[in-house]
């Protein structure tokens, strides 16, 4: 079973982020109000933000170790990242966006894999389009597909539904459920308990840069 272990500290303006948690398989929810440091934390796991101190390991790989001066750059971490705003490449078609990770790692082309993921996410008919021609929900599904097709060891999702209206949210949630059932380990950031109740297997609750609780879905019981 996959194991992500995070113990990091970083000063972010007025906020002191000091977080320790472990994540096994399934969906680990990082839950808490905005400003709790959730996005900074996933950026550290992805390698986009450097902690001041601490240690990040994934299985038996050290991704970051301040005391040993280890900081694996993001392009060697093989951690998929679905951003809040999608961040599709505007100059590439949907197919080229989906294929980007494979091209960068120079793996042989596997059209079957791309078609399978596209079908799983219901974007098979959009492959020739430009990102600008997609709806918000379609864009986010392409972003998920793009991250999946790089064959990540771990998938980070930072409020992937935040920019969508209620209709598009319910359009994407079932796809995320399928990914969980396909046993792709995920770290899922959200401040909305209802979303997490449908997906999460474990919950890490954050507030003001600290872990305030960690456990199962029961942590979401009273939350909105």
């Amino acid at each position: 079973m996959i194991m992500l272990a995070v113990a990091v500290e970083k000063q972010l303006g007025a906020l002191t982020l000091a977080v320790q948690f472990k994540a096994g398989g399934g969906v680990t929810a990082l839950f808490g109000p905005s400003g709790a440091g959730k996005t900074s934390l996933v950026n550290m796991i992805a390698g986009l933000v450097k902690p001041d101190r601490g240690l990040i390991t994934l299985d038996d790989t050290i991704l970051f170790d301040a005391s040993k001066g280890i900081d694996v750059p993001p392009h060697r971490r093989r951690i998929g990242y679905v951003f809040q705003e999608g961040r599709l490449f505007p100059h590439l078609s949907v197919r080229q966006n989906l294929d980007y990770g494979r091209r960068m790692s120079v793996r042989p082309r596997d059209a079957g894999e791309l078609e399978r993921i596209a079908a799983l996410l219901g974007i098979g008919s959009l492959l020739q389009r430009r990102p600008r021609m997609l709806s918000g929900g379609e864009r986010q599904r392409v972003a998920i597909g793009r991250a999946l097709l790089m064959q990540p060891r771990l998938l980070l999702l930072d409020e992937p539904l935040a920019s969508l209206d209620a209709g598009h949210k319910s359009e994407i949630l079932p796809y995320l459920g399928r990914l969980r059932d396909a046993a792709i380990p995920m770290v899922y950031v959200s401040h909305i308990a209802a979303e997490l109740r449908q997906l999460a297997t474990t919950v890490v609750q954050l507030d003001e840069g600290q872990v305030v609780a960690a456990g199962g879905l029961e942590l979401l019981a009273g939350a909105a």
Binding site: R76, H91, Y100, M104
Partner: protein
């Protein structure tokens, strides 16, 4: 009947060759400089910015004179290039290309720098998480997104190089068939009796070439930005 004499054709052909070579050589340096100015944080950035823009504000004769001192056969850079690479700038068309490239350089750097500054850096982060190393991020994301700015800069530099006069004539003189561009030829024809007709023809050519460059750049720029702002 509009017909150019062989001497006039030579000036036109020479101008185009000089402007093309000047722009092609300046482009990689301009991309590197634009990137440094847009992204770099280093001591002396303001100085570099000033140096790049200097040819825009200096009298062209001064730029030409400085090129003559440094890149002439006995100049420090010119002597080095001749001894080690056999390259000669003084009184050659290559020198005219160097002068045109230097004069066009600020016009080339500026749109490239602005384009690089306006790129959403978060797209580059996304590319990195997908496994692209910094060089691949630059080639597959940064450069394509900066393409409209690069095209705009290439046009401006090419047009400037095509019309360069002051620095060129100071540096490499006005030698028919070697350094006599359209501008220099017009100037020469105006100095001689009955030269008006020839000068007039070259003026027309200059107008046509400049307009064509403008239209081509407009069209290319629109195509490039249509690629990622919807068809």
């Amino acid at each position: 009947m509009f017909e150019l004499s062989p001497a006039e054709w030579t000036a036109v052909e020479l101008s185009l060759r000089i402007a093309l070579v000047a722009t092609a050589w300046a482009l990689p340096f301009a991309i590197a400089t634009g990137w440094l100015l847009a992204r770099g944080r280093f001591w002396g950035k303001t100085v570099l910015d000033g140096l790049v823009h200097l040819p825009l504000v200096l009298p062209p004769v001064v730029t030409g004179y400085l090129l003559l001192i440094w890149f002439g056969r006995r100049g420090p850079v010119g002597a080095f290039l001749y001894d080690h690479l056999g390259v000669v700038f003084a009184f050659r068309w290559t020198g005219a290309a160097l002068a045109s490239g230097v004069m066009g350089f600020p016009l080339l750097v500026r749109p490239i720098r602005l384009a690089l500054e306006s790129i959403d850096r978060r797209l580059e982060d996304a590319a990195a998480t997908l496994g692209a190393n910094p060089a691949l991020v630059f080639v597959t994301v940064t450069l394509p997104l900066a393409l409209p700015g690069i095209i705009a800069g290439v046009l401006l530099c090419f047009a400037r190089a095509l019309g360069e006069f002051g620095a060129t004539i100071t540096f490499v003189s006005n030698i028919p068939g070697e350094t006599q561009t359209i501008s220099a030829a017009i100037y020469t024809f105006l100095q001689i009796p009955d030269g008006d007709a020839a000068a007039g023809r070259l003026v027309l050519v200059a107008i046509v070439l400049s307009l064509a460059a403008l239209i081509a750049a407009e069209w290319l720029g629109r195509r490039a930005s249509a690629r990622f702002h919807g068809e």
